[in-house]
């Protein structure tokens, strides 16, 4: 910590020197960052407060594809509202790496996305608090990750939800009027697509490996509606993969995969799939559905001439009459605490405008930062579906899930092969799903026992 600070200060000093030589940029005034009285982001009234502030701020982003077009447009729009504040974007191709080097210098700009390498306890070293976690949590989505000691340091740039990508036209042509809400309904729909259209009902993208691992993402919130399931409950449950009578839980997710394959509702030859071309095929309607996160929706839309056909539906599991989907925050915006007071305030004003007034979430098709905003069009099927994020693990057990997961070799979310085995077993008809899930449960229990994990009675 101490050396880090020393390095940071030295670097800052060196850079301040080079700044004086005429680089310009944002950090006018002392680079040391005096403690400034900052407002909280919820207290700012856009368009009214801080009209008198003059500052020029810089925002770092990884979106080099839109930095000079869309993002520049946002900046210009904002500058109409606040003519005294100049907003400038900088795109970084190697975002994480560059930020690791630039953050400690203190002179990198005013707003950035918090890189994954910065842990919770380190956030206060680089970023200014935006407000109180409890207050902000009532206003913005996905805050759970970026707060420390009750203060919120970052607000995610919207988020994505877990569901199923499908081609609306094909599903309609197959005669499906209502989207499925249980695994069996979903399989019936796939059968209907197979019978009535030429499209592949469900494309697994098996040979790429990771799209098989992607099925693991649904076993938590989508399948249980329990935000504690993935980081806590599953670790302490006996036989978490066992079949539940109401067709929820991990078993239900893998049931969809297994049955779809064994009933011949997937592509002809899973061994020779190709991810890049599958995006175009679903756009054209040669593929009817793919089980992938909502991040893939934009790519599928962009890969053909009929983006309006691409839809996104929640994973077909209903838990006690309610539907759930997991939502994950994107990169979180944070403000440089080494910038001058005026810059920090200007940055906060811009950030608030970006999160609340700009069309950024509509443009990117992501879940907006504001809780009060409706879901994007791409998630219109998620109306009435509760979007939750996984709760963090309880204190002292942060690594327990990973340990059990690795020890058991079930590899939820980190090893694609067990999911591949489900497909293989269904394809070659070597094992039924209950056998596979029984094996996973046995491995899981053995790992729990080896690691001395307490098993909760339920």
């Amino acid at each position: 910590m101490k050396t880090k600070k020393v390095v940071a200060l030295t670097m800052a000093a060196v850079l301040a020197g080079s700044l004086a030589a005429g680089c310009g940029g944002s950090g006018k005034g002392e680079a040391g960052g005096t403690a400034v009285e900052l407002p909280t982001i919820d207290a700012i009234k856009l368009g009214e407060d801080y009209q008198d502030i003059t500052a020029s701020i810089k925002i770092l982003t990884n979106r080099t594809d839109v930095v000079d077009t869309v993002y520049k447009g946002y900046a210009e729009e904002f500058m109409k509202l606040y003519p005294n504040i100049t907003v400038e974007y900088e795109g970084l191709t190697d975002y994480e790496q560059s930020l690791n080097l630039r953050l400690p210098t203190g002179d990198w700009g005013d707003i950035c996305y918090i890189p994954t390498s910065v842990s919770k306890s380190e956030m206060s070293e680089y970023f200014s608090p935006l407000g109180d976690y409890k207050t902000l949590d009532g206003i913005y989505n996905f805050l759970a990750d970026k707060n420390y000691n009750g203060l919120q340091y970052g607000i995610p740039n919207g988020g994505t939800a877990g569901g199923v990508i499908y081609n609306k036209r094909i599903w309609k042509e197959a005669g499906i009027t209502e989207l499925p809400s249980t695994p069996d309904q979903f399989l019936d729909c796939l059968q209907q697509i197979k019978d009535n259209t030429d499209a592949v009902p469900l494309y697994t993208n098996f040979s790429a490996g990771w799209p098989m691992g992607a099925w693991d993402q649904y076993i938590g919130i989508s399948a249980t509606g329990d935000p504690d399931f993935m980081n806590n409950t599953i670790v302490h449950t006996k036989d978490p993969f066992a079949r539940r009578d109401d067709m929820t839980g991990p078993y239900a997710v893998y049931y969809v995969l297994y049955e779809a394959v064994s009933r011949g509702l997937v592509e002809d030859d899973p061994a020779s799939t190709d991810w890049e071309s599958s995006k175009g095929l679903i756009n054209k309607g040669e593929i009817a559905s793919m089980v992938l996160g909502s991040w893939a929706v934009d790519q599928c839309k962009a890969s053909g001439s009929t983006p309006e056909d691409i839809g996104y539906m929640p994973f077909p599991i209903t838990v006690g009459g309610k539907r759930y989907a997991s939502g994950d925050g994107n990169y979180a915006y944070a403000i440089n605490n080494k910038a001058t007071g005026d810059n920090q305030i200007a940055a906060m004003v811009y950030l608030k405008w970006l999160l609340e007034e700009s069309p950024i979430f509509k443009d990117e098709g992501t879940i907006p930062a504001l809780k009060s905003e409706p879901l994007p069009d791409s998630l219109s099927e998620f109306d009435g579906v509760e979007i939750l994020s996984n709760n963090p693990s309880p204190e002292g057990e942060e690594t327990l899930f990973d340990e059990v997961n690795n020890e058991s070799e079930v590899g939820v979310n980190n090893n694609d092969y067990p999911d591949c085995e489900i497909l293989e077993a269904a394809l070659y008809k070597t094992k039924d799903l209950d056998t596979i899930m029984g094996e996973w449960n046995a491995k899981w229990s053995a790992a729990q026992e080896n690691l001395g994990v307490s098993i909760l009675e339920n």
Binding site: F206, A271, Y417, L427
Partner: protein, 335 residues
């Protein structure tokens, strides 16, 4: 310089010894060896020792490790999937034999005058220059349903229903994968054979031609005996290569559908399940298996093939001795 030579009388002082040609020579050798030895030790032997050490621990890449004795080795032998993976290597060994046969055939063709020899040589050798991962991607598309291979076969009149699923059908997918390594290494083996064949004295061919030997005779009686050591070497390399086959299954099928070789399983355990200790134990077990295979092959070839003398093989020596004995016996009987 001249001084040290001049005063070399009686007892030599240390300085004189130090300056002597022999010591100087040693010094030069040691200094020059220092860099390569250092590299060898730092990047080969030290990591190997570490691997041996890790194989006795239960450990991840990051975090504490726990000494578990031989538990990892016991685990290796208790896991059925690990030895099933070794059986997959049999396909690659079969491939290696085919590959050596093809390489020998092509090399022999090239030794006798062929038109466009260098073009052929370059074309055959080229696959070896492509990196294994790229080869994997080439064949991923080559074998994909309805892609290159299927289209070619359809051009020759086969219908798609009759063509097997090259990567999915478990009775054929390992053959398909082994074929990719045959494609890749045949050219390289051929060049090695060719190099050895080039060193055969031309006079031998001329003499053989005068004796009325045809090309087959030349191959069997001149070429093969002259390059037998390189054939054996290639065979040993191919077999140990087959046991550690990795790139084709890793890139093309990711070890799914029953194509996971020993290395693929090892990689999965080490990197996806973070069981570094177990993977190290697997590596050492494989090393032992490869050593056993190599020694067994050496012994086998030492008996079957040769190495009597440079002029005649052991088999020939045995045959000559037998005949001598028979002649002696006949002589004895005659006397």
């Amino acid at each position: 310089m001249g001084k040290s030579a001049g005063t070399a009388v009686g007892q030599k002082t240390f300085a004189e010894k130090f300056k002597s040609r022999k010591v100087q020579q040693m010094l030069v050798i040691v200094t020059f060896l220092f860099a390569p030895l250092l590299l060898l030790i730092v990047f080969t032997y030290l990591p190997f020792m570490k691997m041996v050490q890790f194989s006795f621990y239960n450990m991840k890449y990051i975090g504490p490790k726990k000494f578990v004795g031989l538990a990892n080795y016991v685990d290796v032998f208790n896991r059925p999937e690990i030895f099933r993976a070794l059986l997959v290597s049999v396909y690659y060994m079969g491939g290696a034999v085919v590959q050596l046969g093809l390489a020998l055939f092509f090399a022999t063709m090239m030794v006798f005058k062929v038109k466009g020899e260098s073009v052929f040589k370059a074309a055959m050798f080229f696959p070896y220059l492509i990196c294994g991962i790229a080869v994997g991607f080439i064949f991923k598309f080559f074998y994909a349903r309805g892609f290159v291979l299927d289209s070619l076969l359809q051009m020759f009149g086969m219908s798609l229903e009759d063509i097997p699923y090259w990567l999915q059908d478990q009775s054929i997918n390992n053959f398909a994968l082994a074929a990719t390594s045959v494609w890749r290494y045949t050219g390289q083996n051929m060049i090695m054979f060719l190099g050895a064949m080039m060193s055969v004295d031309n006079d031998l061919y001329e003499a053989a031609a005068l004796d009325g030997a045809n090309n087959w005779h030349r191959f069997i009686y001149i070429i093969l005996p002259s390059i037998k050591s390189i054939v054996v070497l290639n065979l040993i390399l191919s077999i140990s290569g087959s046991l550690s086959a990795f790139e084709p299954p890793y890139v093309i099928t990711n070890g799914t559908m029953g194509t996971g070789t020993y290395f693929v399983i090892m990689n999965r355990l080490a990197h996806e399940n973070q069981k570094v200790g177990l993977a190290c134990a697997m590596a050492i077990v494989l090393l032992v298996i490869i050593i056993i295979c190599t020694v067994a092959q050496k012994l086998f070839f030492a008996y079957v093939f040769d190495n009597g003398t440079d002029d005649e093989s052991k088999a020939a020596v045995r045959k000559r001795k037998r005949e001598e004995r028979r002649k002696n016996a006949q002589k004895g009987a005659a006397v």
